[in-house]
Structure formats: C-alpha cells, structure tokens
Amino acid sequence: MMTDSLLPVDTYLVESLPEIWFGAVLFALGMYVVLDGFDFGIGILYATRTDEHERETFLSAFGPVWDANEVWLVAFGTMLLAAFPRVYSRLLADNYLVAIGVVLALVFRGLGPELREQRNDERWKRYTDYAFVGGSVFAPLLFGMLAGRWLFGEATLPVVLTGVGLVAVSVVTGAAFLAAKTEPGLASELRTYGIGATLAYLSGVIVLLGTVVLTDAGGAADTVLSLPVAAVVALSVAVGLIGSVLARRGQYRAWLASALALPTLLTILVAILLYPTIYPPTGLLVREVVVSPLALNLVTVLGFPVLLLVLWYFKFLYGVFSGPIEGEGYGG
C-alpha cells in the first residue's frame, strides 16, 4: 500500500495522539464558545437598545465576523466525528430535540440581521429583530443544555444551569467586545450589563457545581471536588472580579481580555469533567472510542497544519476589522 511508507498504519504517530485529539476537539469547542459567544452576547444585548443608530452599531460589529465564528461549531462537530465517531453519534442521537433546537436557533440568529437590511419597513425590521434576539438567546441556552447532557446525563437542574451559564457568559463577552469598540456613553451602559452578567455567571457556576456534588449528577461529584476543578473555579472568580473592576475603571480593552478568559476557563472545566471518559453518562473512555491509528494519523497530518492556517486567517480578519466600529449597519 502506498500509505505504508508515508503514515504508520498500526501505531499512532505519537503514543498520546488520542489524548491530543481529545484536546484538539475541546480546543475547537473553546474557540466556538469564546468567539460565537460574544456574537450571542451582541444579539442578547441588542434587545436592550431601542435607538436605531445603536442597533446599527451593534450589527456593524457583528456583521463581518459572526459567520466565520460559527464555523467553529462545524469544526468542533466534524473533528469529534473524525476522531470519536461513537461519541458524536450518541451525543446527538440521545439528545435529539435539543440538538435540532440548536441548529434551528442558529438559523434564526443568522438570518435575522441579513434579512433586516433588505428593506426599510418598520414591521419587517421588528420581525427580523425578533429572529436575531430569539436565536441569540436560544442558541447558547440549548447548546449549553446539550453540553450539560454530555456531562451530567439527564439530571435536569444541572443541564438547565449549564445552558443558563452559557447565556450569561455570552452576555459578559458580548458586552466587553462592544464596549471596547464603541463610544464611551454606550460603553458605560454596556458595562452595567456586563458586570451583572459576570456575577450571575459566577454564582451560576458555583450553584451548578454544588448541585452536582449534592446529587452526584452523572456520577461527577468526585471530579468536581478535585483540585483542578477548584483551581479553575477560583481562577474564574478572580478573573471575573478583576474584569468587573477594569470595566468600572473604563479600561475596556483589558476588560475584554479578561472577559474572554471566562469561556476559556469554562471549556477547560468541561475538559476536566469529561476526561478520561469522553461521554460520562455512558462511561465511554477516550481510548475505547478513538478511531484506528491510520485514520487518526491522517487527520492529524492533513488537519493540524490547516488549523494553524485558520488561526492566521482569524488574526487577519480581526486585524482588518479592529478598532472602533465604523459604517452604518450590517450591510457595511
């Protein structure tokens, strides 16, 4: 076979490649939660604006980047399928309605602003705004619930709290992102929402983990009481509080940096709660469900360099559209 000489067939390129792929899948998830998270935040905070000019400003911030951000969801899903097909199939099939709900919410979120620009008509704008705001609330709520089901199985309260937590952290990053890119008057209004959402998020995480310990949801109680989880939670609280202080002082770029750390830490928390299983309610282990060496080696060799290229694209994209928001509205 041609591939024998190019790629090892029976052994992984490096011994820990399955664990590296577990990390890579979680990395894609983290990118999605961080990047599309602030898009959701923009969509939710949009509901607090009544002034047409402010709404257009929000849409100008959202327009050039949301689609690229959303692709991280596809990257996460397809990487999970490529490395751990059983987990991909079980997770989506076991949580059918939640998963379909996520994609339908994303349809509304994506189409709302696109259609809004098509015509100048108050009623039309109102309906497309409903789609945008509704999609921006339900997409993170349901996606968080899907993640909750992944971690804790059917335990209702932890699942719902995970969804609400993702909504809250999205508001934090959305507020910080907008504050860093807009004029001071609007920014100071946004930071009020951002700080409120930070406190809600942090208390939500603590209530969630407390519930998991008390009810042993998904058998995760022991993991939650471990040192790494405590460290991540402590770090989140510290980052959240520091961010709020920075916001108060009007240091919005620094606030943005600390705000983006929150969903990052959340993803790390998810990784800790998962490993060494990869779908705790089923007890499936990373090593049990990983694809064969040749398949994993192939997606590594072809996929990882491209992933680096993709990170460069994002650097380029955010470079082009850095600085204060310009232009009127979504249409640019």
Binding site: V71, M79, P85, V310, L317
Partner: protein, 482 residues
C-alpha cells in the same frame, strides 16, 4: 434518554406521526434539497464574482463595479443561507443516522473535518473582507479575497463529494468489530478518498452549478435588459452568461453520457432503475415514456408504457458501442429503489439538459447576429428558464441518492439500519414539520431578497414603474406598496 418536552403537549402530532425512518429520510432529503441550492449558488457564482472583481480592480469601469456589487450581495445572502442550512446537515448524521455516522466515521469524518477547516473558514473569513472591506484593504488584497472565497466554495464541493462518492462506490476500508459494532476501518486513504465515482461526480456537479448560475445570471440580466435595453453592465452580464452556457451545457451532456456508463458498471441496480429495465438482457432506450395506466407512474415497467424507444440503444449507450450488451435488470435484486422516482427524475434532468443546450445555441446565434438584447422572445425565454438549472440539479441528485436505495453505503449498510434506534416517530415528525416550516420561509425570503435587489438595481438604472420600456404596466410581481 427520554424526550425533553412533554409529549401530551403535541398529541395531535403524536397521532399523525410518521415512522422514524421515513420522517428522518424526508427530513434529510428536504433539508439537503434546500441546502444544495445555496451551496451550488456559491460554487457557480464564484467565477462571476472573481471576474467582476478583477475587471473592477483593473479597469475601474463603472459597469464591473456595479455587477460586482450586485452579485456579491446575492453571493452573501446565498452564503448566509448556505451556512445556516449547512449546519443542520452535519448535525443530522448524528441526530438521525447515528449508526451511519458510527459505521462510516473513520471514512467520512476526515473529509468532513477537512471541509470545515480548509474550505468553510476560508470562505467565511474572506467573504467578511469581500463584503465589508472594500475601503479597508488594498485592491490586491481585495482581489485575492475574492479568489479565496471562490476557491473555498470549490474546495468544499471537493471534500463533501469525496464523502458522497464513497457512499456510492466505497473503497479503501475493511469491516472490523469495535465496541460490539461492525464498523468500517480505514485501510487505504487514497483508495477511500479517490473512489471511482469521485472524478465523475465532481466534474458533473461543479458543471451543474455553473450551468444553474449561468441560467440565473442570464435570467436576471435578461429581465433588466428587457426593462432597460441600453444598460451596458447588464448586456455584458447577459453575454457572459450565455457564453458560459454555450460551453457548459453541451459539455454536461457529453460528460453525462459517459457518466451513465460508469454508473452502469459500478452500480448496475441504480442504472436499471434509471432505465426501468427489469429483465436482464438487451436494453432498449426509452427516449420518451408515458404510462398507460396510473399504476405505471409508480412502477414504470416497460410493458406498461407507451414509449418512443430506440431498440437496443440502451445497451449501446451503456456499453459504449455494443447493441447486444447484456444489461442487468431489477429482477436480479431482492429489494429495489422506488423505480418511478428514479426513472422520472432522470428523464426530467436529461430533458432539461437538452433544453439548456437549445437555449445556449439560440443565444449563440443571436449573439453572432448581434441581436442578443433585441430579441424579446429570447429574453423572455431566459427569464422563464432562470430557475430550471436548479430543477435539473435537484432531480439529478434524486437519481443519485434515491437510486442508491435501499443502501446508504452501497452493498454495505442499509438506510433502515442507519436510522437512530432511540428516535421516536413523534420526535422525528415534530422536527420534520419544524424544518419544513422554517425552510419554506427561508426559501421565500431568499426569493424576495433577489426580487428586492433587482428592484433596487432597476431604480438605480432610472427605470420607474411607469417609464417607457418594453414593459408597459407595473413591474411583474411587484406591487406599489412594497
């Protein structure tokens, strides 16, 4: 795990629910049908966008800036629709066909992940630049962005067709038992990615996308030219679309003919269904076939049809020259695809293909005589033909996908075995209804968006609804109040 919403709340749906298998197949078929229109719009528009951007940057001529701006807007709207309808596609492998995702995961997961990482990011990132960055980046960067967006569209087609071609002619794997389930293990990536079907499918689909978009561009241009004959920009667009059609439409017929022979060799059952050929042996070619009785609509056996047939030509075409070639018939198989759907879809596609050749040649003749934009009859014909490329493209896919039944992976996994075992009929019916409602709305808004863009363009050109053009009266389909 149990359903997350109380089922009593949806008892009317409960009563009317379909089987999970049927609902899942209808849902996948419906969502992919809508999605593929937008995906192929990106593929087909790519060459137009790149060309207009290049001419705009190079010549700074007003007409190219105008055409670029118009079609980039269409591209952007189509791309957003393609994104939001594309995410449900990859989710449904897991939600509705988890056994398929698990059995084929090693083979399809890689290409799907490459599609996301190599193609989707490229398109999404540089489309942001193309749409919003005209004043923020240099001309050269802007032009490169248009090329990268187009390249991304064609590359995504490459990876997704690797997946589909593998389902038609699976290669490069062996079946092994993992965690108590028979799954496909990748043994040879070259064989698995470059299956016999892949080159046929890629060429046919990319060209079909080009034809569909050429017809769309020609139709829109014809309409605007009809309203405003002296528009330089839209006469240019019309000519360009017709030239593209003159190349692509005849090519598709020649290529399709050879593709058919390849299908006969690699998927004889599908070929037999395309031709309603039941008894193994010499095959006639039915040019036209009409059922004598209503039953024949759903089971078009040759004896129930009034046909205009060329005796033995079926064998001749399928074998590439032998009138006596033995063609395998449907009676050889225990379970067959719904023959009528495949048979009629195939005829519909081929018939439209010949119509496109006719339109292309007619346009070529008029162009040669220098009368392309004066011939009202031709302009009207092109307006009427503007959605037909998509009709042919969709029916072609119905031949491919329905013709492969009962298999989801040819000769390896049946569709019925791929459907989720935990899915209930109620859940599946509920989401099917949801997708139908949402996507009907989505398609309607896509059409309205195109209508509004055309209207806006006509206003820019100074055409008023009461103005003198060839059309006397209100704009068709546009009322005063919207």
């Amino acid at each position: 795990m149990g359903p997350i919403i109380p089922l009593n709340a949806v008892s009317p749906v409960w009563a009317a629910s379909l089987s999970p298998k049927l609902a899942s197949r209808m849902q996948f078929g419906w969502t992919i049908s809508v999605h593929i229109i937008f995906a192929s719009l990106s593929i087909g528009l790519a060459p137009f966008i790149i060309y207009f951007t290049w001419k705009d940057v190079r010549t700074s001529e007003q007409r190219y800036a105008r055409l670029r701006s118009f079609w980039v807007k269409v591209f952007a709207a189509g791309f957003v629709m393609g994104t939001v309808t594309g995410i449900p596609m990859s989710f449904q492998f897991g939600t509705n066909f988890p056994q398929f995702a698990e059995v084929a995961g090693e083979l399809i997961g890689g290409p799907l992940a490459f599609e996301a990482k190599m193609a989707f990011f490229l398109e999404a990132v540089f489309l942001g630049v193309l749409l919003y960055g005209r004043d923020r980046v240099e001309d050269r960067t802007y032009l490169i962005s248009s090329v990268l967006v187009g390249f991304g569209a064609w590359l995504s087609g490459f990876w997704i067709l690797i997946v589909n071609a593998w389902m038609q002619t699976p290669r490069g794997y062996e079946m092994v038992t993992r965690n108590g389930m028979e799954v496909a293990k990748l043994t040879d990536p070259f064989a698995a990615f470059l299956t016999p079907r892949m080159p046929w499918m890629y060429v046919h689909m990319m060209n079909a996308s080009v034809i569909s978009v050429a017809l769309l561009v020609a139709g829109v241009s014809a309409y605007i030219v009809w309203k405003k004959p002296d528009t330089e920009a839209w006469n240019t667009a019309l000519k360009m679309a017709v030239v593209l059609l003159i190349v692509s439409a005849p090519f598709q017929a020649v290529h399709g003919d050879a593709y058919g022979r390849h299908v006969e060799e690699t998927q004889p059952q599908k070929f037999a269904a395309m031709e309603a050929h039941y008894e193994t042996g010499q095959a006639d070619l039915h040019l036209l076939a009409f059922p004598k009785s209503p039953e024949a609509l759903t089971d078009p056996r040759a004896e129930n049809l009034v046909t205009v047939s060329l005796p033995a030509v079926g064998s001749f075409l399928a074998s590439g020259g032998d009138f006596d070639a033995e063609i395998i018939g449907l009676n050889e198989y225990d379970e067959n695809p719904p023959v009528a759907l495949v048979f009629w879809s195939f005829r519909f596609m081929v018939g439209l293909g010949f119509l496109f050749i006719g339109l292309a040649l007619w346009g070529g003749y008029l162009m040669y005589r220098g009368r392309l934009s004066d011939n009202t009859r031709y302009l009207k014909a092109m307006i009427a033909a503007s959605p037909l490329g998509y009709a042919a493209l969709l029916t072609g896919w119905y031949v491919t996908e329905i013709g492969r039944q009962p298999w989801v992976i040819q000769d390896e996994l049946r569709t019925s075995e791929a459907v989720s075992s935990t899915l209930t009929g109620t859940e599946a019916t509920l989401t099917l209804v949801g997708f139908v409602v949402v996507y009907v709305g989505l398609v309607l808004t896509a059409l309205y968006t195109l209508k509004w863009l055309i209207r806006e363009e006509l206003q820019l050109l100074g055409v008023r609804e009461s103005s003198e053009g060839r059309w006397h009266g209100p704009l068709p389909g546009v009322s005063d109040d919207d």
